[in-house]
Amino acid sequence: MTDNPPTANDARRSSARPPGLAATVGALLGKDLLVELRTLESVPGMSLFAVSTFVVFHFALNQNTVSGDEAAGILWVTLLFAAMLGVNRLFVADAEQGGFDGFLLAPVDRSAMLVAKALALLAYLIVLELVAVPAFGLLLLGSPLGQALPGLLAVLALADVGIAVIGTLIAALAVRTRARDLLGPLLALPLLVPVVIGGARASSPLLSIVHPGGLQLRWLGTLGLYDLVFGLIAYAVFDFLLED
């Protein structure tokens, strides 16, 4: 896509009042999803990466089926690294093709960019998991996926929000540095360790054959707290990344 983001045009058309946060977020999110639908730059790559990683794990661990801690570990490592691919690409088009300039010229709340990009990344993650989780159940998981699914969905939802928020913040931090492809994962991986702890520990009993267990609330609580704290922090500091 070569033209400016729709917000700039929208604002020019209705010169009287700047659009509200929801309208701006909607426009930016629509633009991002449309760009992704037309170019297919992130999501197919992320999904393919996840499936390839499962194959790599099969050979690296020399196991046909996994369960429990092992299964949870493989699932979360794969999802996290696949998410990194999306994080690395999240702002590249905006930085290289003038998306930032167009957005900064528009009389809109800067935080809209954070919300819209985080929602876009969340959408990418959901599509990724729609492919990766069934593929994981088919290729590697020893226990039936169906019984784990309700609990797993709750864990994935909470973890995705955290990955989306931190991923967006880190992507915006790294995109205008010299070594952005390197810095993005380097910054994001340590920051996402609590998400991995919460996600893997919560899903391990769900994926276990020997001692199948229920959902442990303290992990959901940890993930929820993480989402809340870093959601607020990202909201507070994000504007400073968009000042020039």
Binding site: R178, P190, L191, R201, L225, F230, I233, F240, L241
Partner: protein, 227 residues
């Protein structure tokens, strides 16, 4: 304010405090019954860890001040604080590994949540300088570094909470916190903590003074027309 004022007083009091602390560690604090002489590393390791973590959080608070006031001096302070905390953090990891080797027989133990959390925090802060120096424009560099420092500063307590929750089989902590220490050990620990905090402040002041001098030199040679 003249650069480097108060450095001499600060240095002398640091040396004195370190002397008193080491004296207490080696001649006053009793030998611990289970771990013996090795336990003395506790008076170096734990205060350094506390000072270093406080430095990371302090760097985040200074970054908030920088973003609020747009005063570049706050960014310089934040940078120096995080830099020094990183250096002390390396010492913390080394002393922690020595302590683990001595008392549990392994250089690294995953069952000690504080040590594991500290490693994660160090891995995160190790990216501070690569991030900072990958940005050329000095104003943007300061701004981005501050955003990182605030996020990472908030990450420090969050990370400790998550890692502590994850180690459900808590290792029996011999002398983890100062709350259950006998009085002579608690006194020694307190003095060590104070000495390490002074050491940290002194090192930060030296680096700040050096950085400010360099900035001043650069700007005056520019004014005088030197290259």
């Amino acid at each position: 304010m003249p650069i480097g004022r108060g450095l001499r007083t600060l240095s002398i009091s640091t040396v004195a405090a370190m002397g008193v602390a080491l004296g207490l560690v080696f001649f006053y604090a009793p030998i611990e019954a289970e771990e013996g002489f090795l336990q003395k590393i506790f008076y170096l390791h734990v205060p350094l860890a506390i000072v270093s973590l406080c430095g990371f959080v302090l760097g985040g608070l200074m970054a908030i001040a920088h973003l609020r006031t747009r005063d570049q001096r706050w960014d310089l302070r934040s940078y120096v604080t995080i830099h020094m905390s990183l250096i002390l953090g390396v010492v913390v990891l080394l002393t922690g590994a020595i302590w683990a080797r001595g008392s549990w027989g392994h250089w690294w133990v995953w069952s000690e949540p504080t040590l594991v959390s500290f490693l994660i925090v160090m891995l995160l802060y190790a990216t501070y300088q690569p991030l900072r120096f990958a940005i050329e424009d000095p104003e943007r560099q300061a701004r981005y570094a501050s955003v990182f420092a605030i996020t990472a500063g908030a990450f420090v307590p969050m990370n400790f909470l998550a890692v502590r929750l994850s180690s459900s089989y808590l290792h029996p902590r011999v002398l983890g916190s100062s709350s259950n220490l006998p009085p002579p050990m608690a006194l020694t620990f307190g003095v060590s903590l104070g000495a390490m905090a002074l050491l940290f402040a002194t090192l930060c002041s030296y680096e700040l003074a050096a950085k400010r001098t360099r900035i001043l030199l650069k700007s005056s040679s520019r004014i005088l027309g030197y290259r």
